[in-house]
């Protein structure tokens, strides 16, 4: 492959990733409550950064002939951890009783974990006595 072809491929990858990141950032602002925002913050942002990193990896690998283990590790790392982080924050939000949007039609967890007020009260109690 000559240089321009590589540049085109890398450009497409980077632009795609960046636009995904931008979309997810706007989603973080525009969506109504924390549970819907979690979609924006974790799914699309992760995909965006993965695509961008792949672009960088291809650039260094193909044009400069430099196979960067660090980037591969970075890609694997972000791929593994970003969903887990999203899951943890989302669970923490639900358990600490952050309210759902008014337009929500169904909440399957409510019978198990209690109503929003109960969860809020429990969370306040946990914060007061951390080592119960």
């Amino acid at each position: 492959m000559n240089v321009t072809t590589i540049e085109v491929i890398v450009s497409v990858l980077v632009l795609f990733g960046v636009i995904l990141a931008l979309i997810s950032a706007f989603g973080l602002v525009r969506l109504p409550d924390v549970y819907t925002r979690s979609h924006a913050a974790t799914k699309s942002a992760t995909l965006g950064v993965l695509v961008t990193l792949t672009g960088a990896f291809m650039f260094f690998g193909l044009e400069e002939g430099f196979f960067s283990i660090r980037l591969v590790l970075g890609i694997v790392f972000v791929f593994l951890t970003a969903p887990v982080a999203g899951h943890l924050v989302c669970r923490a939000a639900y358990r600490s009783g952050v309210p759902l949007d008014k337009r929500t039609v169904q909440d399957d967890l409510e019978p198990i974990l209690g109503t929003q007020e109960e969860r809020q009260a429990e969370n306040k109690e946990r914060h007061r006595r951390p080592h119960s």
Binding site: L71, A85, R129, P130
Partner: protein, 93 residues
Amino acid sequence: MFDVVLLISLLLLTLSILVGLYRVIKGPSMPDRVYALDLIGINMIALIAVFSIYMRSTAYLEAVLLLGILAFIGTVAFAKYIERGVAIERNDD
């Protein structure tokens, strides 16, 4: 042409970081802020990757993994704090 694309990408990433910053400041709840911080961290990873392509230098690539580690640990600690009221548990029972 390639450099212009990269510059535009840098600009867009900066914009998305700023947009995330709005969510950090506004809230309204703690998990919202944590999500926004996580997003900022991930966007910074992308920023460094694009920047190192722009500089044609591999010297910045350590920071990719390093920022990923820091963002993940920060998010996990925040999430556990919100949920349990303590980040590191003792398990004394």
